[in-house]
């Protein structure tokens, strides 16, 4: 389980970016996780809560947007969304080796409360 390592990296990055934005307390952290990122949303939520203790992010909510796998189908010449990590086109059934999206593991935004100073 590497979600704890991911949570630590996330907290480090979010703290840095909140300071750069001259923000006050961070109320929420928005992340995007692709279905092929290899990260479990529930495990990340749990790890985030634990790893936030005694950091400036303590008490911040973690809001996870889970995004599907999107591939390019060479036969249909179109992008297709997959419901499961089986790389065949849901329309024509052909193989779809080209991954367009699905590996994102991204900090997308922070919600900061400027009326409340950051803890440290």
């Amino acid at each position: 389980m590497h979600e704890l390592s991911i949570a630590l990296s996330l907290i480090e990055l979010a703290t840095e970016r909140a300071q750069q934005a001259d923000g006050g307390r961070v109320e929420a952290v928005h992340v995007r996780i692709g279905a092929l990122a290899g990260v479990e949303a529930d495990a990340l939520r749990f790890s985030f809560e634990v790893a936030c203790r005694d950091t400036p992010l303590e008490g911040a909510r973690l809001i996870i947007e889970e995004t599907p796998i999107v591939v390019f189908c060479p036969r249909c010449q179109a992008e297709r969304t997959l419901q499961a990590p089986r790389f065949e086109c849901p329309a024509c059934g052909g193989p779809t080796p080209t991954l367009v999206r699905g590996r994102e593991l991204e900090l997308t935004a922070l919600e900061v409360q400027d009326d409340v100073p950051a803890d440290r």
Partner: protein, 227 residues
């Protein structure tokens, strides 16, 4: 209290590792060393394959290995029998190698003196998938004893690897290994993925595997030579 302000970020959570891996990739390119990482579940035969690979490559190439392990240096000790320089990275409780660990472990090595560097990751099919190490070739092992549907259970690692090596081929009959089933599972998670089959014990498929390594190195030299 006013409503919170939204600060747009849009940055990869592992951007520090991605950056370290990019820098490491440049270091490897400048040194002209071909870097191959091995990932698999515990017990799929990474150390056995690597030991035999080092033994067969050392007469012709300058090779070295880094070995990640949670707690022991048993693998490194085993691999040093090949005569190649081997260094251990003990990760403690961390279940994967990252680019920074690799950088630190290599800090005082003369990479320019090497033609191949192998990195054996911690035995784990989940966590190593998220961490780029700057390698040229990520090789995932699938042993005939562990079930043909492994690729479907761990799609990320198979989808992010460049080559699959099916190991322990000498046990295929005893394990009831169904190659067509394994191929279908691999094709489902990564159409067109290259698959080799080897047995370290019998030597079957080892020549193909070594040829693949040598051609990966040749491709890299062509790609990185000045125009």
């Amino acid at each position: 209290m006013t409503s919170p302000r939204i600060v747009e970020v849009r940055q990869a959570i592992l951007s520090k590792n991605d950056l370290a891996a990019r820098e490491q990739r440049q270091v490897f390119r400048d040194a002209g060393v071909c870097v191959v990482s091995l990932v698999s579940s515990p017990g799929a035969g990474k150390t056995a394959l690597l030991g035999e690979t080092l033994r067969r490559l050392t007469p012709r190439y300058r090779v070295a290995a880094l070995v990640g392990d949670l707690a022991t240096d048993h693998d490194a000790v085993r691999l040093r029998e090949s005569g190649a320089p081997v260094r251990q990275i003990t990760t403690g409780t961390v279940c994967h190698l990252d680019a920074e660990m690799v950088r630190r472990a290599l800090a005082d090595w003369d990479l320019g003196a090497l033609e191949f560097l192998f990195i054996e990751n911690v035995g784990n099919l989940v966590c190593p998938a998220s961490y780029d190490l700057g390698e040229d070739l990520r090789v995932v092992l699938l042993s005939v004893t562990e079930g043909e549907d492994k690729p479907e259970k761990y799609p990320t690692i198979f989808a992010t690897s460049d080559l699959v090596v099916v190991t322990k081929l000498d046990l295929a009959a005893a394990a009831g290994y169904d190659d067509a089933l394994a191929r279908r599972a691999l094709e489902a998670v990564r159409p067109g993925l290259d698959v080799l089959r080897v047995s370290v014990r019998s030597g079957a498929g080892m020549t193909d595997w070594l040829d693949r390594l040598v051609s990966a190195r040749a491709r890299k030299r062509v790609a990185s030579s000045p125009v």
